[in-house]
């Protein structure tokens, strides 16, 4: 019998209770959290789709790895195991462990960045952009044109625009390029995959101009699934070999292990060049920890080594991608405007279209995030003008290209009945969407404002 239903290739070994709440209670909770879902307590949330980062359920093997962790400061076997796994996967000689992905980014971009430097990417993620701008450098996003339009179908909407890449390198001068960063998959652009061909061409251009080529590989396994299913010539290549080939084009990689390494904490920086690695090691020791643990406990390094293997299992990846797609297809059928096709780790709603009665400068995305929470207890995140908006000289909002709301699906955590519940909540949202209110910002910090900003609904 051919199985049509996507069943999980695992059974549950450990559970965590969910605290239930009523809509009235959640109205109070949200007001107290200044209408910012980042400021809610976790026990006020029923379904937590805030992020797929660090929220995975670990396997029994990973839990036993936690107990087996070797906490020796130097020469820990857990570090040796993680180092070996990353080296094999990336083909890169130098591995620097960090407490999470943004620390790896901060180290490499502090070293490469600075005033006058330019970084080019398919789309910089929020922490990446913050790290680059914090150093005084400029971050340029050049996704392919299709990547900017939620409705247009393209198999690899995460691709970078190769023509614009070359033009930008020439315009800025190759010597001023800090690095070209390919984010795989492209998170801010809707979790869309990058094709092998695109990754290869970026490599050629970077080589031609002598520019450093980095990959953000935090969802490299999910990307490999799409390459296998959508790109000619890769049907019979294993997911792990696809990932290896993709990384072979790059000079270095940053990884937040909290995504595709299926752990709750950890990350690393991998590099081919010894000199660059040594410079980064100095920064690593100052702010993270010594080169053999980088601010991670031995047990977490053990769990990363195990997770990086598990994530490439074909049954797991098939379940992962297809269950995300299941939610997306159901919402699409309800008429919710989505970023199409459905990406790997999340479903992205086009809030600007869905909440078209709310003007862009009243943050339709944030408004939808608030409604999903109060109506259903579902915590999501806005990826739009709150996260990436800036102001012109008159203080008027320059909106982000898209106002998306992300439903990030934690790995191996929620069951199909949770997903059915989410779909029900959307049916209710559709009924009430004419009552949706705009949102204004009442407080914002200088960097990464979405994490701690405070809001109020506009009556």
């Amino acid at each position: 019998m051919a199985i049509k239903t996507i069943i999980e290739p695992f059974k549950i070994k450990m559970v965590e209770p969910i605290t239930m709440s009523t809509e009235e209670e959640r109205n109070v909770f949200l007001k107290k959290a200044h209408y910012n879902t980042f400021l809610l307590d976790s026990d006020q949330v029923i379904i937590d789709f805030l992020t797929d980062s660090g929220t995975s359920a670990m396997s029994a093997k990973q839990w036993s790895g936690l107990i087996d962790g070797d906490e020796s400061y130097a020469g820990s076997r857990s570090w040796k195991r993680m180092e070996k796994t990353v080296k094999e996967l990336s083909g890169m000689e130098y591995v620097l462990p960090t407490h999470q992905g943004r620390a790896a980014e901060r180290i490499i971009y502090t070293h490469l960045g600075g005033k006058g430097k330019v970084f080019i990417s398919n789309t910089h993620f929020d922490t990446t952009r913050a790290n680059i701008e914090f150093s005084g450098a400029t971050a340029i996003d050049i996704p392919i044109e299709e990547g900017k339009h939620p409705k247009v179908y393209h198999p690899f909407k995460g691709n970078i625009d190769i023509k614009l890449l070359e033009e930008n390198i020439i315009a800025s001068g190759p010597e001023n390029i800090g690095a070209v960063i390919l984010t795989i998959t492209n998170n801010s652009g809707g979790g869309q995959p990058v094709s092998m061909q695109n990754a290869r061409e970026v490599g050629k251009i970077c080589k031609r101009y002598g520019v450093l080529y980095l990959q953000d590989m935090c969802r490299i396994a999910e990307n490999a699934y799409f390459v296998n299913h959508r790109e000619a010539g890769y049907e019979n290549i294993s997911y792990k070999d696809i990932a290896k080939e993709m990384m072979s084009f790059a000079d270095g990689a940053v990884m937040s292990a909290k995504k595709d390494a299926l752990v709750n904490m950890g990350g690393f920086l991998a590099l081919r060049d010894e000199e660059l690695a040594n410079a980064c090691k100095n920064l690593l020791i100052i702010t993270e920890g010594f080169t053999t643990y980088g601010g991670l406990s031995g047990r977490d390094m053990e769990a990363i080594a195990i997770g990086l293997d598990e994530v490439f299992e074909p049954d797991y990846l098939r379940y992962r991608i297809r269950s995300t797609e299941y939610l997306g297809n159901k919402l699409d059928a309800l008429g919710v405007p989505l970023m199409l096709p459905i990406g790997g780790h999340a479903v992205y709603i086009d809030a600007r279209e869905f909440y078209s009665n709310i003007p862009v400068d009243q943050y339709p995305g944030q408004s939808l995030v608030c409604d999903l929470y109060t109506i259903g207890g579902i915590r999501t995140v806005e990826i739009g003008s709150v996260m990436f908006g800036t102001y012109d000289e008159q203080g008027k909002l320059i909106p982000a290209p898209m106002d998306l709301v992300r439903l990030a699906i934690p790995r191996r955590v929620y069951t199909q009945s949770h997903i059915e519940y989410v779909i029900e909540v959307f049916a209710e949202i559709i009924k009430r969407k004419n009552q949706a209110k705009g949102i204004k910002i009442t407080y914002e910090p200088e960097f990464l404002r979405h994490f701690t900003a405070k809001f109020e609904p506009i009556n």
Partner: protein, 459 residues
């Protein structure tokens, strides 16, 4: 009634980790392979690992249970609130920002409080602390009492601050050039030496007069409190928990590496009473560490920290902890081994210059001794002498520090009395045959932090 009681452990063993027994022949081969540098030994070749007391503690069953209660929500994890409450209750600080480890907190406080040209006085430097102060544009000035620099001086509170020197420094530079005094409990580089409550009270009075803040490096505060209870008048009947609170109440904020006193393998925090500085810290932590409700730590590690803090303040625990270190120290002193006096709280520091008087400092007596102890018994210790001190930036010559030490750091709750006896026997054995020991020649020297990866050969 006996005044001195046995330091027998107030716990029994619940989980064990195998150690590897090796023979002398194997150890001779291994130490030669790693160039006589104990840092480069694999943990499987080490019998008793005294490299550091940082992150190497054995957690309790309650802490392991807490690991299972980890709430890995990205925002608003209940483990954070538990940790925050614990810190507020036991240490008395108002605001808490978690960090992945202590140096993350040092990084934040330096960035927030230090301006270019500032002076930061402190009771002896610590490597990472001073580096962060310098990176923020400040200069560290040592104001510890002179007794601290004399390994033979037996004053009991060698962590005290020379208040006369401090006041002259304030008068010379002006209070506005001094953002805070960096006060450590206990002082690591002086051999784990405590500061007295009397000195701390006088420091508070002096800093209040000039309106200067005191920031507390509290990584071994409970060990310091134990020494106050043991040796300072008026504190014999005061519980350690109360003494710790009294110390914290005399300061304005703290950085903590929870990997020491708080009995965890990873974690730290920044605690502040000032609301404005806290606000800045909350905005910065998201860039370097993680969102302010996890700061780069897994939820489970925050839970283990909260439990570990409570356990570390138990009088019985601390009597066993420091009692074990003092037991080893006293046995070495009885055997006539030259060590730094008085014995501190977290380790024993052997004076290699007096141990191996026939080896000149440019033949690395401490490095030699650490290697010899390893060869004799598989005990791993650390050099703190000319190799660690590095080269003078201008002349390119070795820096020859006054103290040429081998550090035997005792992990918490890990080793038994029998292990202590083995360590003592081994050091005595090496001492008895010291005439035959020859020095080392450096054959590989990395550019930075050479002690970590340098290689040597026998002369």
């Amino acid at each position: 009634m006996l005044k001195k009681r046995s330091w027998a452990e107030p716990y029994k063993i619940k989980m064990v980790e195998p150690v590897f027994m090796t023979d002398r022949k194997h150890r001779l081969k291994v130490i030669k392979e790693v160039g006589y540098n104990t840092f480069l030994l694999k943990s499987k070749d080490v019998y008793i690992d005294l490299l550091t007391d940082s992150g190497t503690s054995a957690m309790s069953d309650r802490q392991w249970a807490g690991m299972m209660l980890g709430d890995e929500a990205y925002a608003g994890s209940r483990n954070f609130y538990n940790l925050e409450e614990t810190i507020q209750k036991y240490y008395g600080y108002k605001h808490v920002v978690p960090t992945h480890q202590g140096r993350g907190a040092e990084h934040l406080i330096s960035q927030i409080m230090i301006k270019k040209g500032d002076i930061i006085p402190g009771n002896m430097y610590f490597t990472t602390t001073r580096l962060h102060q310098e990176l923020a544009g400040g200069t560290f000035v040592d104001v510890i009492i002179p007794e601290a620099h004399d390994p033979e001086n037996t004053y009991l509170f060698k962590g005290d601050i020379d208040l006369g020197k401090l006041e002259r420094l304030i008068e010379e530079h002006g209070a506005d050039k001094i953002p805070y005094i960096a006060m450590a409990t206990t002082v690591n580089m002086a051999g784990g030496q405590p500061i007295s409550m009397a000195n701390l009270k006088a420091l508070r009075k002096l800093t209040d007069k000039y309106g200067i803040k005191v920031i507390h490096d509290m990584t071994r505060v409970a060990e310091n409190a134990f020494m106050i209870q043991e040796h300072e008048k008026g504190y014999a009947n005061k519980p350690i928990a109360e003494i710790v609170k009294e110390i914290c109440d005399l300061t304005d904020g703290a950085t903590m590496s929870a990997k020491k006193d708080a009995l965890v393998n990873i974690g730290g925090f920044l605690a502040l009473n000032d609301s404005d500085h806290f606000e800045q810290a909350r905005n910065l932590v998201v860039i370097y560490e993680g969102l302010h409700t996890y700061g780069g730590l897994a939820g489970r590690d925050m839970e283990a920290m909260a439990i570990g803090i409570k356990e570390s303040l138990s009088d019985d625990h601390m009597r066993a902890r420091v009692g074990q270190v003092q037991y080893l120290g006293q046995n070495l002193l009885n055997a006539g081994i030259p060590i730094v006096k008085p014995v501190g709280t977290h380790g024993i520091f052997i004076d290699a210059k007096r141990f191996l008087p026939h080896i000149p400092q440019d033949q690395f007596p401490a490095q030699t001794l650490a290697a010899e102890i390893y060869i004799d018994s598989g005990v791993r210790s650390m050099e703190r002498g000319v190799v660690s001190a590095g080269r003078d930036k201008k002349t390119g010559e070795h820096r020859y520090p006054k103290l040429e030490l081998v550090r035997l750091t005792i992990p918490r709750r890990v080793y038994t009395q029998a292990h202590m006896d083995v360590i003592c026997e081994s050091v005595c054995e090496v001492f008895d045959t010291r005439q035959k020991i020859t020095g080392l020649e450096m054959i590989y020297e990395p550019q930075y932090l050479r002690f970590f990866q340098a290689r040597f050969k026998k002369l």
